[in-house]
Amino acid sequence: MKKIITALSAVLIATTPMVSQATPDDDLKAFRDYFVKKFPNVPMHDFINGVYAIDPASREQWEAFEEFPSYEIFVDKGEEEFHKKFANGKSLADCFPNYKKGIRQNYPYFDSNTGKVVTLEGAINKCRTDNGEKPYKWKKGKITYVSGYLAYLSRGHKINVKVPDDERAMAAYTRGKKHFYAKRGQLNMACADCHYYYAGSKIRADILSPALGHVTGFPVYRNKWAGKSKTGDGMGTLHRRYGGCNKQVRAKPFKAQSDEYRALEYFHTYMSNGLEVNGPSQRK
């Protein structure tokens, strides 16, 4: 009887993640268990490769790109930008003294002083404004080159997002979690509909990527975005993608770096704790 109850509760936890008493680590375990069960042939570390972990045909193409990926052009630009001196003589490097050791894996984090979730892009622009410089635009261009460069240097480090013992942090995490599972837009779909319940299924000619390992590769270089850009710049931030996804279900997108998207990123990234950073990565 105990075995049945345990099994049943495991199923319940796995399929109804909105158990109110669950800690972030409970959520993480349930999240991982769910995807491992859904994709038994995918080794845990491979989930960082998104669709390419679950579809051999597109993986082959992706591996061809990875021979010499286009994002390397933008990582180079990021390196230049990161070391470029501000008017006051400092540079972004001064705000991120540990950048060579890898820092991407620690974002986003909850700042107890401000009571806000801090993303890597947020930290980059804060550095600029603190030093009298104009902030970069949030979704594409230089912000992606710099965060791409920092992600590149952080490759291999395991995502390590923390929710400290602070009810404001837990509130932000919970807001993010609710966003992930909430239906929205004219098409009335949640992030979870595509990327949790129907991960691996097809939506027209696309395969839906699993939410486990979703964020490790950001900022991403998307062939689709490159096609729209005159210079073939396909780089975009996570919030750029969030906006696009919201538009896809005909929901009004939130602004990049808004409270909503930062909360979502907080939850979303926590769900990839323990998986390796592999940004920037190439995607469709």
């Binding site: 193409q61 000619a205 696309d206 689709k224 538009k247």
Partner: protein, 156 residues
Amino acid sequence: MMNQRRTLLKGTLAAGAAGIAASVGLLTPKAVLAAWPKAAFESKSVDAALSAALGSSSTSESGKIKLKAPDIAENGAVVPITVTSGISGTESISVLVAKNNQPLAANFKLGGDTEGYVSTRIKMGKTSDVVAVVKAGGKLFSTKKQVKVTIGGCGG
């Protein structure tokens, strides 16, 4: 291009790009004079392009040419392809996309010690055969593969 050729033959350095390039040693004079085959690249059919580029459109299918290309392209603007030619004496490899308005995408001229191998990424307007043509020993050999180009489901 023709103006630049004439100017160079006259021995004067034109203000044209090829002239400048040659003067800073970026291109050998030989490369400069090997004019870009405009007629071949602007041909509207595979046969016309091959005739213009290689002198003939008569090719024989060869199993010794391996053309690696996806069955379904993730994005028609960037389709990775690799051509490996096992035919000895491979001098050049040409890549054509049959249903593109102008099928000829590239000609790779290979030096004596260069292997029959090229890899690149091409644009395809729609589902089409990708054709690889190898010139060896004065003859043309080819192989082809259909690559599907689709419209996906998730934009953003």
